[in-house]
Amino acid sequence: MSARVISGHPGIGPAVTAEALVARDNFSARYDLDRIKGIFSRPAHALIGESYVGKVLVLNIAKGGVATAWMLHEMQSRDMAPAALLLNYANPIIAQGAAFAAFPLMDRFETDIVDAIQTGQRVTVDPAQGTVTVAD
């Protein structure tokens, strides 16, 4: 089995390995998720109905409001959080939420991260090193 390493800007939170869930759409915990059921609930979202719990979520940019800064911590407390979040561009809210919750987050990759990873692939996210390793 081969592996690809994708570099990005060093991120926040501990290293983690999990299965990827990928879409060319954006991310806001308040706008997009049913956090009780652990699924995407926004009708217009590309991942509507999909469970994100324990997945490395790979999406385009952070959108929406400030609530996500608390919500990552809240979802983690119920074991209903994603494993990590990879974005082409984060915003301050996602970074603040990741710092508060010690949640793995990375952005600003050498390539478009949504094109580089497919749903179902196992990926290892190492925010301190600024690397994502994809098991092809």
């Binding site: 991120g11 308040r30 929406g64 400030v66 800064a69 911590h73 301050p92 710092a99």
Partner: protein, 416 residues
Amino acid sequence: MRLNDQEQAILAGEMGAIRQRALEQQIQIGDFFDAEDFVEVRQAHIMADTESLGEAGVAWLEEVATAPEAERRVLIPTITDPRGADFNAYQRINHDEAYVTLEKRADVAFRALGVLMTDTCINYQITMPPVLGEHLAMGDTGVVIYSNSVQGARTNYEGGPSALAAALTGRTPRYGFHLNEMRRGRTLIHVTDRPRELDQWGALGGLVGRMMGSYWEVPVIAGIEAPPTSDELKHFGAALASFGSTALFHMVGTTPEAPDLETVFDGEPPERSAIIGADELSAFTEAYAPADDKLDVVVFAAPQLSLIEMEALALLLKGRAVAGDVACLIATAPEVKHAADRMGLTAMMEDAGAIVLEGVCFYQMHARELGEANGWTRLMTNSAKLTNIIGGYGYEPTLASMAACVESACAGRIVR
């Protein structure tokens, strides 16, 4: 990040473990965005409704509140965004008592930290308006975009834990919209038809927001000849921030950093441009057109209503009657509610059957559970921001003018 003597002292724990932890988190965020140092801030605004906090967040706040007062008290004026329950009115809308109890616990914890419970997202209209060049740590996207754009103050989106960290350390990492070079215009939007009603200003904000490629893109609006009112800019900015995750816009001839196109683009050409006219505004609203005229709840909120909006709404509702099977909710700031009580506006609205809520906003008060408890699905509002948010909570929103919303509430069905 470079730390000065005071910051090094905080990091060493000389001002207590709470401020130390806060600064450690801020350094992580600063490193993430390549901040070189900190900037002192003069006001913080915390978004911390219990729907976002959850039990875990409230328990964390309560733990912070047990520290000695010298270690837990905020260092700068710190105010709050709308809360998750109206303690005086929750029973009128079947709001679950468990959420109200959680909200009360958060309220007690915040007071112990010296936070001023303003419970508002329109602080710039009623509390202490930010001023040009002032560095701040504001939560609520609508507050950030208004402070940055209309008032020329300098803040990033500061989510709850981050705004609280800034309040506890008196500073925030200097990145993003604290920096001159990040504030210049990037994208030019020509507006050919001036929006008229507040919902149309929101629609314009939504259209621009959808175009934005990231938090860092700064749109410049041209073609608005006479300055809009504060409420018009409020709805425009709130929708732009909500649809776009946008923290700063410039409006040529209106906002303080945009006297003309050359200044706002700092001599560089726009990276891209677009034209928005009446057709685009209509299409935006039409996309929320309902399949039929069924109506459950009419909501005036997001942002909370100013006293001027409260008066306009009271005059529309005066002598009317909201249909028995429709709820009509109006959310405003506590200070505005008190003024509206004193001026007889609340009575005009409530005599018609509307419910005036204070210190809350609809989507921040467990909207999904409220919908289930009351059988609300079809929602009508004049807030483009709310239409963007509330779909994820199980509602089908329709966007219309304030007058059309009132007509519909009274007719018991959607009238457009």
